[in-house]
C-alpha cells in the first residue's frame, strides 16, 4: 500500500523524475565506459587533433587528438567513484558521530559538535588543496579530502534529527521497555533519520563531483592520463577562443550531473517528507 502511493507520487513529482533521469544517465555512462568507449580514453592521436564533431568523432577531438566522447564517458567513471567514496566516508563516520553525540548528550555531545564546527570553519576547498599539497596530488587523496569534509555535514544532520527522534514518545517508550542507548540509536533513531540522510547524500554527492572537478582543474585531483571532467576543463582553457566546445562539453557534463543530483535530492525530500507520509 505504501509502495504504490510512493510510486504514484514519484511519477507526479517533476524534480524527482528529471533528477532521476539525469542521474540514471550518469550511472549508465559510467557503466558503459567500463565495457566500451569509442576510442581508448587516453589515446593520443596528434595528426587528428582539434577535429570538429564528425561521424568518426561525435564531439570531435582535443589538442592531443583524444576523442571527447571517450574522455567524457571515462570522466563520468571518476565522478561517480569520487562521489560514492567521499559520500560513503561522510556517511559512515558522520552518522556514527552524530548518533553518538545525540545518544551521549552532555560533554561528549559538545566535544563532537565543536569538532564539527572546527572543521566547518575552514574553507573546504582550501583545506582540500592543502591536503593534496601535503600528501601529494592524486585522485585518492582528493577523494579523502572531500570525504573528510562530508563527515561533519552528516554528523550535524544526524545529531539534530536524532535529538528530535529521541525526544519522541516512542524513544521514551523504548527506554521504558529496558532498551539501552545503543539499541535505541540503531533501531529507532537511524531508521527515522534515514530519509533525511538520503536527501543529504544526493546533495553531498553533487558537491563532491564539483569539488573533484575543481581539484582536477587545479591539477590536484586526477592525474594524466586519467580522464576527468575537471582536467578536460583545465586543458581546454588554453584553447578557449580557438575551440570553445572543448570547454563546453565537459562543463555541460558537470552541470547536468550536479543538476540531476540536486533535483533528485529535492524530489526525494518531497517524497520522503514525514508530513506528507502522515497524510497518506
Amino acid at each position: 500500500m505504501s509502495r504504490d502511493s510512493f510510486a504514484a507520487r514519484a511519477r507526479r513529482n517533476a524534480s524527482f523524475a528529471v533528477g532521476a533521469a539525469l542521474v540514471a544517465m550518469l550511472i549508465l555512462a559510467t557503466a558503459l565506459s567500463l565495457v566500451w568507449t569509442p576510442y581508448p580514453p587516453g589515446a593520443i592521436d596528434v595528426p587528428h587533433k582539434l577535429l570538429e564533431p564528425s561521424f568518426a568523432h561525435w564531439l570531435g577531438t582535443d589538442s592531443l587528438g583524444r576523442d571527447i566522447v571517450s574522455q567524457l564517458l571515462a570522466g563520468a567513471r571518476v565522478s561517480i567513484l569520487v562521489g560514492v567514496i567521499a559520500v560513503g566516508i561522510g556517511l559512515i563516520f558522520g552518522v556514527a558521530l552524530g548518533l553518538a553525540a545525540a545518544s551521549a548528550k552532555g560533554i561528549a555531545e559538545d566535544i563532537i559538535m565543536r569538532l564539527c564546527d572546527f572543521t566547518f570553519a575552514f574553507p573546504a576547498l582550501l583545506l582540500a588543496i592543502m591536503f593534496t599539497a601535503v600528501l601529494g596530488a592524486g585522485i585518492v587523496n582528493a577523494i579523502l579530502a572531500i570525504g573528510i569534509f562530508n563527515v561533519p555535514v552528516f554528523a550535524k544532520v544526524t545529531r539534530a534529527l536524532g535529538n528530535n527522534v529521541l525526544a519522541r514518545d516512542y524513544a521514551m517508550a523504548a527506554r521504558a521497555a529496558g532498551k539501552g542507548p545503543i539499541a535505541i540509536a540503531f533501531e529507532h533513531v537511524l531508521p527515522n533519520v534515514a530519509p533525511a540522510l538520503i536527501v543529504q547524500a544526493t546533495i553531498q554527492f553533487a558537491i563532491a563531483i564539483l569539488a573533484e572537478a575543481a581539484l582536477s582543474y587545479l591539477g590536484l585531483g586526477a592525474q594524466p592520463p586519467q580522464a576527468s571532467w575537471g582536467r578536460m576543463l583545465s586543458d581546454a582553457q588554453q584553447l578557449m577562443f580557438l575551440a570553445p566546445r572543448l570547454a563546453v562539453f565537459p562543463g555541460l557534463a558537470v552541470v547536468l550531473a550536479v543538476l540531476g543530483l540536486n533535483l533528485l535530492g529535492d524530489g526525494l525530500r518531497d517524497l520522503l517528507d514525514p508530513r506528507l507520509r502522515a497524510r497518506r
Binding site: 519522541r168 514518545d169 527506554r175 521504558a176 521497555a177
Partner: protein, 324 residues
C-alpha cells in the same frame, strides 16, 4: 511490600539553579494493589512516575528512597535499571499515536521486550506477541501484529501499548494518563482492560491522571498532588467521601455534576498554582485556599493523620472539617 517511596524529592536543573518539583512524596504499594495519583498539570505526578522508572530528564536529581522489591532504585546503576524496565516495572504512555515507532510493525514492537528480557527467539517472541494482542482484545491478532501503527485506531494502538507493557508480566505497571488521548467510550474499555489484566496476573498499578472520576473507578488508594506536594492520601472512598484537605474539597466541587441545577456554572478554584520557580516557602495552596491564615505562609505543612492511613497536609484540618 512491593514498592515503598519515602521522602522522595525531585530537583530539575534550570538556568537559575535547581528547582524542586516534587517534595517529600511518600507512599507504599503492595502486590496487586492499585494507587491513583491525581493532580493538575505541573503538580509533579508525571515526574513522580518517571522517577519510579528511572527515566527523569537529564540532570534531574532525587533524594529519598524508592525501594522496589527490596532494592533502592535511586542507587541502582543504569545497567541494572535497564534490566528492571520493561521486565519488572513497565509503563503505559499517554499518547498511543506517538509512543509507537511508526516504522516498525506492532508485532515487532511487542516482541522486543520479550527478546530483550526473556531471551526468546525472534519467532517465539512473535508468536507470543500475537497471543498478547489477543489477550488485550484485538480482533484478528495475527493480522494486527503485521500492521504498522498508522493502520490502527487510537484505541487499538493503546491496546497494543498495553500488550507491550504487559509482555514480560511486570510486577508494577505505571500508566500515565493512559486514556487522555482517547474518546470517552474507548476510555472506559481501556481502563477496564488494564484493571482486568492487572488483577489476573496480580500486578500492582499506579494510575496517573488529572481525572478524579478515572481514579475513583479504578484505584483502591489515591494520592492528591498539588505543586509537587502530596496534599492528601488514603483509601479512595475515604478521600472522596470525606475529603480533609481544602484543595481536595475544591477539586471535588469543581467537578461537573449531573444533579446540579440547570444553568449553574461549574465551580472554579480562584487564582493559579504557583510556578515552580517562585515556590512559596509555606503551603503552596495558601492564598487560593479560603482558610488561609498567616501561619500557612510560614512553613510547609506536615502530614496530619486522620483515620487509618488517610493523611492530609494542612495545618487547618480542624477548620476544614468544620467547613465540610
Amino acid at each position: 511490600m512491593l514498592l515503598e517511596v519515602a521522602n522522595l524529592n525531585i530537583d530539575l536543573p534550570t538556568a537559575d539553579g535547581a528547582r524542586r518539583i516534587v517534595r517529600e512524596a511518600s507512599f507504599t504499594l503492595d502486590r496487586g494493589q492499585t494507587l491513583g495519583i491525581v493532580g493538575e498539570s505541573g503538580s509533579g505526578k508525571t515526574m513522580t512516575a518517571l522517577a519510579l522508572m528511572g527515566l527523569l530528564p537529564d540532570g534531574a536529581t532525587t533524594s529519598g528512597a524508592i525501594v522496589f522489591e527490596g532494592r533502592d532504585l535511586t542507587r541502582l546503576s543504569e545497567a541494572r535499571m535497564q534490566e528492571l524496565r520493561g521486565d519488572r516495572i513497565a509503563m503505559i504512555f499517554q499518547e498511543p499515536m506517538t509512543a509507537l515507532n511508526p516504522l516498525h510493525s506492532i508485532g515487532r514492537q511487542i516482541a522486543e521486550p520479550l527478546i530483550l528480557h526473556r531471551g526468546l527467539s525472534k519467532a517465539a517472541a512473535r508468536t507470543q506477541a500475537v497471543k498478547l494482542l489477543e489477550r488485550v482484545g484485538l480482533a484478528d491478532p495475527a493480522r494486527r501484529a503485521r500492521a504498522y501503527p498508522h493502520e490502527l485506531s487510537g484505541g487499538q494502538r493503546q491496546r497494543a501499548m498495553i500488550a507491550m507493557a504487559l509482555s514480560c508480566e511486570p510486577r508494577l505497571v505505571i500508566a500515565d494518563e493512559p486514556t487522555t488521548a482517547l474518546d470517552v467510550t474507548v476510555q472506559a474499555q481501556i481502563l477496564d482492560l488494564i484493571a482486568d489484566l492487572g488483577e489476573q496476573s496480580n500486578m500492582a498499578l499506579i494510575l496517573v491522571s488529572h481525572d478524579l472520576a478515572v481514579i475513583a473507578q479504578n484505584c483502591a488508594r489515591v494520592l492528591v498532588m498539588y505543586s509537587g506536594m502530596t496534599m492528601e492520601s488514603g483509601r479512595t472512598q475515604d478521600v472522596l467521601a470525606r475529603p480533609a484537605h481544602p484543595y481536595t474539597k475544591a477539586l471535588l466541587e469543581a467537578r461537573p455534576r449531573v444533579s446540579a441545577p440547570r444553568g449553574e456554572r461549574l465551580h472554579a478554584i480562584a487564582g493559579a498554582a504557583p510556578s515552580a520557580d517562585a515556590m512559596p516557602k509555606g503551603c503552596p495552596f495558601a492564598g487560593r485556599c479560603p482558610l488561609t491564615i498567616e501561619a500557612c505562609r510560614l512553613a510547609p505543612p506536615a502530614p496530619v493523620t486522620l483515620r487509618g492511613d488517610h493523611t492530609a497536609r494542612c495545618i487547618r484540618i480542624d477548620a476544614a472539617e468544620r467547613l465540610a
